[in-house]
Structures are given as structure tokens and as C-alpha cells.
Symmetry: C2
């Protein structure tokens, strides 16, 4: 495994690998890798000849009041994890390398952003789409891997790839969970002992909503209320949102039909947790 | 020569050509080809194994009061010209093919746009950068050819390619001129007989500015005034702008130094003509 910090060197490497006919799998991350990332790397390793991991904390996707500076970083540990996961190249550029000057062009995302987490983070997905566009051109992968834990990000990247016709296959990897169903997240360590006991109720609430639909319910608000009720009954967390949309379009639904997402965000004392289920409704 | 109307078919074709190790030259146009376009095609033909011409009148780059509907189109004629120029594929998509729905992502251009022609066409270069991004992913060329007649467009595409790290070489092709120096343009036919006689004074004015600099003048405003004066003396056109900037950054200059552009736009009765000179100042 080698680490590359320069864009030009990275592009030269990737062009050479493509020339050899190798298929390239790409896992873009902000580092501080956890089991969710490892699942992406594993899947990329299975499906491609060559695997690239990028580690870049992207200032463009942080709002003015968000903690770009304090975002956790641990390159040594990430390097070890990447090595064990069979990564071929870690692309690890500096902010100066990626943004030598104020960007003269950025990507503006018009759809799929004014709901869920995007509602409270204006410009966040513009920053994500911009850095992903840059990384796609630098790495030139055949497949790119994103975790369904952040389903809205997957939806935005899906729109980006489709509308800009990137010759790249988006692979959405299922959320990795603890045995009790809690979605794995770096933020779970910030839960108190009591909160950690309550937290599996989030996924349970989503499953309850899903079961409700599978039992024949088609009224959006009734399913939403069932999820809200379950969370309120079983946790002391404060609900940020419980929303149901078409997926990946993230449009409101008149009735539950087609591919849909049930998504939630709940605030505990020191951690805000998100989770979702995507399902097909006949 | 074949004509392709579908994005998917185009991408499959281009991937196959790349697989064969062919170098691909790309000339994106809005059709209604003239000698300027032919110069681009000729250059692309010389430098690449495979030449793609796209013809697409891009609604996204027309303002609400601009004439998207009335923009001239003549596919039969364009097809003949392309054939004679040795084009391999004409990519000729419909608006529906390129924009099946309101675009969920677009490119926003932040630099190089609030001067010259961009000043009076807000959003124009966002539309240009968006369609070029799409076309670059569809055609996947090694080299893309643009005419220096529209120097600001070349500057914007230069920023787009650099900042988004497109693995594409931008080739800026010199403006094709009539024997008397007038830059070739579809709009020249709208000049009256008298105006046509005056019009070469535009290029002469730019050359006068250039000669002034080469003789040692470094004061931006003095050179600008010399160009203005020459136009006013020799034409009845109304000056839209005469501007001097660094190139391709299009930033104002304190003193004439480095790579610079002298650019102008002049309105005649039924035609607005543009022209420019880019030069290096020691």
C-alpha cells in the first residue's frame, strides 16, 4: 500500500492502472475510519482489481459554525486500518493541494438537499458534491462506494453522477449495526450509559414503521407518528426530525408507494444520531 | 462519420475507442458551423486519432431575454462541413436527452465571469460550465478545442478544467480572420456595407494598443484610451467595452505585465462584434 499526497501523481498512477485494464474501486472518506468505512473498503476490495481510499477533511462542506478544525483526525490509525483492509493507494492530500486558491468553480446542488439533515446545513451538500467531483476526476474510478447510513449523501451523489453523466457506478453499502441494531457511528461513544441502552430504539422505531407499512398501512403521517411515538416511549432523546420521502428523489409522498426512505435524527445529551431504512412498497 | 444522439451510446463508443488506445479530440459547438469551427476541427484532426464534434444549442446558457429559440440551426449543412473536416462522430443530442428534467446539479462559476461579456450575461457561464462538464463526461476526450475569439469562455473552461482536475488538455485555437483582419463571425453578415468597411478597425485598434505596449507603454488606461480613440475615429459603432486584464485570470492590472488580454465589444446597427488580443508583456 502506498500513500500519495499530490493530485498530479495520483492521476498519473490511476491512468496507468486503467491502461492495464484494471477496474478501480474508490472509497472517499474524511478519515477517522470505523467499521462502516471498513465495510465499504471490503466491498470495494471484493468487486475491483484496485482499491483507492481517500482521506480528506473537506473544509468546503463545513458551515461557518461547524467544527472543521476540531474534526477528529488520526492518520496513523487510518493507515493501519486501510492496510489491513487491502487498500492499494491511500490518497491523502492537504487542503492546500485540493484548494490552492478560492475555488473558481463549485457544484451547486438544487435537488434532494432541502430535507432531512440538509435542511439545517445550507451549502453542505454543495461542498460534498464539489469535492466528490474533484476526487472523481483525480481517482477516475469505475465504482464509488458510499454508506447508506448517510442516505441523503448517497441520494445527492446519485443525482451528481446521473446529471453530470460520470462514467462511474455508485455502490450504496448497507449500514453496519451493533448486535442490538444501533447503527455504528463514531458518535456513539458520546452517549451516556443510559442513552446507549436507549439508542437501539431508533432502529427499532424504523423497523416498527416498516412493519406497519408491510401490514398494509399507506398513510404517511400515521407511519411517521408510529415512529415518533416509539422513540418518545423508549428514549429520552429529542427528535430532530422523523421524515418519509421517495428515494432517492427525497420528494414528499401523498401515499406510501415505490422506493421510500424512513429517516430520523435524534439528539441525546452529547450526540446527535441519525438512522434510516430504505424499502420498496408495492 | 456517424451521428449519435444518445448519451449512453456515446459513452460506450468513447470507452471502446479509449480502450483501443486512441487519443480523442473534442470540439464542442452550438452548430451553425463557420470557418472558426473548421479551424478547431482541423487542429483536432491533426493532433488526435479520433475526433468528436458535438452540436447542441444549450438552453442553460441563454438568459431569459436571449434568443434560445431563434438561435440559427442547420444540421444538414453542419453535417457536410463535419464530414469534410474529417470528424469521426457527431454527437447531436436533443434538449430532452441532455436535460430530461430540471438539472439537480449545476456548475457555479465564481471567478473570471464579472467582466467583459460576462458582466451583462449573469449565469451565462454557469450554463456553459455545466454543459461542458456533462459533455466532457460523455465524450471523455484527451483534448478539448475552443476558439480564442471567445477568450472569456476559454478562461472559464481553463478554470473549470484546473479546479475540477479534469484529465483533459485545453487547446485554445487562434481566432480566424478575414484578409483585412476582421475576426470571422456568423454575425458579420448583419453588418451594412459601410459598417463592413469600418469593422476591420476593431482589430486594427487592438493591434495599435499592442504596438503601444511593445513601444514601452505600461499605463493600462493610456493603452485603453488609444484603443477607444482608434475605434471612435474609424467606425460609427458604439463601444460596449474596451477592457484590459491579466489572462486567463481576468483580473484588473495596476501595470501592464505578464500575460494580458486586450478585449473589446462594439455595437453596430444589427450586430455586436467582439475581438481580443492576448499577449505577453515582459
Amino acid at each position: 500500500m502506498i500513500t500519495i499526497e499530490k493530485i498530479e501523481q495520483m492521476q498519473a498512477c490511476m491512468l496507468a492502472e486503467r491502461q492495464k485494464g484494471k477496474t478501480i474501486g474508490f472509497v472517499p472518506t474524511m478519515g477517522y475510519l470505523h467499521e462502516g468505512h471498513v465495510a465499504l473498503l471490503k466491498r470495494a476490495r471484493e468487486e475491483n482489481d484496485f482499491v483507492v481510499l481517500s482521506i480528506f477533511v473537506n473544509p468546503l462542506q463545513f458551515g461557518p459554525n461547524e467544527d472543521f478544525e476540531r474534526y477528529p483526525r488520526d492518520f496513523e490509525r487510518d493507515h493501519e486500518i486501510a492496510k489491513r483492509a487491502g487498500v492499494d493507494i491511500v490518497f491523502y492530500p492537504s487542503v492546500r493541494e485540493m484548494y490552492p486558491h478560492k475555488p473558481s468553480v463549485t457544484v451547486k446542488v438544487h435537488e434532494r438537499v432541502d430535507v432531512l439533515c440538509g435542511k439545517s446545513r445550507p451549502g453542505h451538500f454543495d461542498g460534498v458534491a464539489t469535492v466528490v467531483t474533484k476526487l472523481f476526476h483525480i481517482v477516475m474510478p469505475h465504482r464509488a462506494y458510499f454508506g447508506m447510513k448517510d442516505a441523503q449523501q448517497v441520494a445527492v451523489i446519485d443525482g451528481l453522477i446521473r446529471d453530470f453523466h460520470f462514467p462511474i457506478e455508485l455502490v450504496a453499502v448497507p449500514t453496519v449495526r451493533e448486535d442490538d441494531g444501533l447503527a455504528k457511528s463514531s458518535r456513539n461513544v458520546y452517549l451516556s450509559e443510559q442513552e446507549r441502552k436507549e439508542a437501539p430504539a431508533l432502529y427499532a422505531a424504523l423497523q416498527r414503521g416498516k412493519a406497519f407499512i408491510e401490514a398494509g398501512e399507506r398513510d404517511v403521517e400515521k407511519v411517521r407518528q408510529a415512529i415518533v411515538h416509539h422513540i418518545e416511549q423508549h428514549t429520552n432523546g429529542v427528535i430532530d426530525y422523523v421524515e418519509i420521502y421517495s428515494y432517492p428523489e427525497l420528494k414528499p409522498l401523498e401515499t406510501l408507494q415505490g422506493k421510500i426512505i424512513l429517516a430520523l435524527a435524534v439528539r441525546f445529551t452529547n450526540a446527535r444520531l441519525i438512522d434510516n431504512i430504505v424499502m420498496n412498497v408495492q
